[in-house]
Amino acid sequence: MLALDPILEGPLLWTPLFIIIGKVLFIFVVGLVATMFMVWYERKVVSGMQNRIGPNKAGPFGMLQTLADGIKSFFKEDLLPTRADRIVFRLAPFLAFVPAFLLWAVIPLGGDFSNGNDGTVTWFGHVTRVQLADPPVGILWVLAMSSIGVYGIMLAGWSSGSKYPLLGSVRASAQMISYEAALGLSLAAVLLSSGTLSTAGIVAGQNSLVDWNVISTGIVPFVIFLIAVTAELNRPPFDLVEAEQELVGGFNTEYSGIRFALFFLSEFMNVVTMSAIMVTLFLGGPQPLFDIPVIPGALEGTIWFLVKLFAFLYLFVWLRATLPRLRYDQLMDLGWKVLIPISLGWFLLLAALREFSPDGDAAESLRVVVISFVVAVIATGLFAAALKVSARNRAAANQPADNTGVTV
C-alpha cells in the first residue's frame, strides 16, 4: 500500500516548501510549453497528412508559431458583444482553463516504478514523488475537474447571447456529460484491477507488460475510455461542438483576443493532460518496458512516460486527419446505446472473474465466461427488443402525419 506523498506529511519546513513551489512552477511551465508544442505538432502532422508544409516561418520548423500566435492575441481587440452577459462572459474562460491546469496535479510524470519501487525520489534530502500532489481523492480528481470543465463551455455559449454559440454549447454539454458516463464506467474497470484510487498506486500496480491495465482489464475498457476521452475533448470525429459548416466556431464564436486564446489554450492542454491520464491508467505511466542502460531510474520513468504520451498525441492528430464527423444522433446513440451498456457489462464480467476465479484457474474462468456470455446474450436480446419497440413507436407516431401530408 502506497502512502501519501511523504513530503507533505511532515512539518512544513523551508526546504520542502521550496520543493513544492518549484514543483508548482515547473508544472505550470510544462503545462504551457506542452500546450504550445501540441498546437504546433497538430498543425505540422496534419499538414503532412494533407500534403502541405504547415507552419515553417517562425523559428526552426515553425516551432515558435504558437508563441507568435499567442503574443499576437495580446494585441487583438477584446470585444464584449452587446447582448452578452457581462459577468459570465468574463468568467467562462477561467472556468475552462483553470481545471485544465489543475488536471496536471495528479499525473505521475516520472519516478522509478520498476522492480516494485514505489516511484519516490529524493530531492535535497527529502523523499517525494515526481508529481505535483497525490491527494486522497486520487483519480476522482480527474472526473471532478472534467465536470467543471463542462461549465466553461456551457456558460461561454450561453453568455454570448448569440445563436451559434448557444447551439454549440448546448450540444457540447450534452455530449460531454453523455460520454462522461462511459468514461466513468471504464474507469471503474481500472479501479477493479488496481484496487486503489491513488494515481501513483495505479502506476505502481502495473509492474510488467501483462499487468498493464490495458491488458489486465482486457482492452475493452481502454477502447471505450479512448473513445469517451475523444468525445470529452470535443476532438474530431466528435467535434460537433465547433462544426464549422453549421455553427461557425461553436461556443467560442463571440470570443476574441486573449479570451479566445485562453479557450484555445485549455482545449489543447486538455488533449495533453487527458493523453497523460490514459497513459497513467492503462499504459503504466512511467513504467518501463525494458531497462534503458546508463540513464538513472527516475529519469528513465520520465522518458517512458513521454514516449507513451507522444503515441497518444499522434493518435489524436491521426484521428482528426482521418475520420469524418459524426451526426448528432449517431453520436448520442454511440454514447448511450453502445458504449455505456458494453462498459457496464464488461465491468460486471471482470468483477465476476475476480470474484469466482481469483487465481485465474482455467476451468473456473471458463465457467464464469460461459455464464456471463449467456447473461450478455439475454441482456442484448432485451436491449434489441427495446430498440425495436422504440423504433416501431416512432414509426407509428410519424405515420398519420405522413399520410395526410402534414409535416410535423
Binding site: 500500500m1 502512502a3 452577459d85 459577468i87 459570465v88 481523492v137 461549465y151 448557444l166 450534452a174 456529460i177
Partner: protein
C-alpha cells in the same frame, strides 16, 4: 494557537464564506443562471468542508454528482424553458407563498438550533473511540474502503432501495417527456 489549527481555521472560514456567499447569491440574484452559479459556489464550499473533515471521497462525489450533474441539469432546464432572463421579483404568482416561506424558514432555523443544542453533548467523541475507521487510515483508500464496508455490508438494503429510487426518477422523466404513440394519435385527432 498552533500552525495546524490556524490552517484549519483558515480553511473552515474560507469554505464557510463560500457556502454562505453562494447561498445568499442563489436567493438574491435576479438572473436564474447567476443563481445556479451561486449554487455551484455553495456546493464547492461544502466539498472543501468535507475535505477539511477528512471525508475525501465524499468531497469528490459532491463535486462530481452535484456540481457536475445536478446543476448541469438545472442549467439545461433554465435554457430549455427559455427563462434565462432577469425576473421581476416583486410579482408574486401564488399569493400565500411568501408568508408561508417565512414561517417555514423560522421553523427550520428553530429545528436546527434545537438539534445543535441537543446534540452538543452527544457529539463530543473522545479520540480513539467513536466512529471506527479503516485499518489503513492515512493512505488514499481508507475513506472509500470504509464506505464500501458500510455500503455493501451493513446498509446493503438501503443501497438496493436507492436503485428503486432511481427507477422512480427515470420513470418520472419518461412519463413527463414522452408520449405513447396512442396518445400522439389521440392528440392529433383532437387537434384536427
Amino acid at each position: 494557537m498552533s500552525d495546524a489549527t490556524f490552517l484549519e481555521f483558515v480553511v473552515f472560514f474560507s469554505a464557510a464564506v463560500m457556502i454562505l456567499g453562494g447561498a445568499v447569491g442563489v436567493i438574491t440574484m435576479k438572473n436564474p443562471v447567476h443563481a445556479a452559479l451561486g449554487l455551484v459556489l455553495t456546493l464547492f464550499g461544502v466539498a472543501v468542508q468535507f475535505v477539511a473533515m477528512q471525508a475525501h471521497f465524499l468531497a469528490a462525489v459532491q463535486v462530481i454528482v452535484y456540481a457536475g450533474a445536478i446543476v448541469v441539469l438545472f442549467l439545461f432546464v433554465i435554457m430549455l424553458l427559455g427563462v434565462d432572463e432577469s425576473m421581476d421579483l416583486s410579482i408574486e404568482p401564488i399569493p400565500i407563498q411568501r408568508p408561508l416561506a417565512a414561517v417555514m424558514a423560522v421553523g427550520l432555523v428553530g429545528l436546527v438550533g434545537a438539534a445543535i443544542v441537543r446534540a452538543r453533548d452527544a457529539l463530543i467523541i473522545a479520540p480513539g473511540d467513536g466512529i471506527a475507521t479503516a485499518a489503513d487510515a492515512g493512505t488514499h483508500d481508507a475513506n472509500i474502503k470504509q464506505l464500501a464496508t458500510n455500503l455493501y455490508g451493513d446498509h446493503v438494503f438501503a443501497f438496493q432501495l436507492t436503485s428503486v429510487l432511481l427507477i422512480v426518477a427515470v420513470a418520472g422523466t419518461v412519463l413527463l417527456t414522452r408520449k405513447w404513440p396512442k396518445d400522439v394519435a389521440d392528440t392529433e385527432s383532437s387537434d384536427a
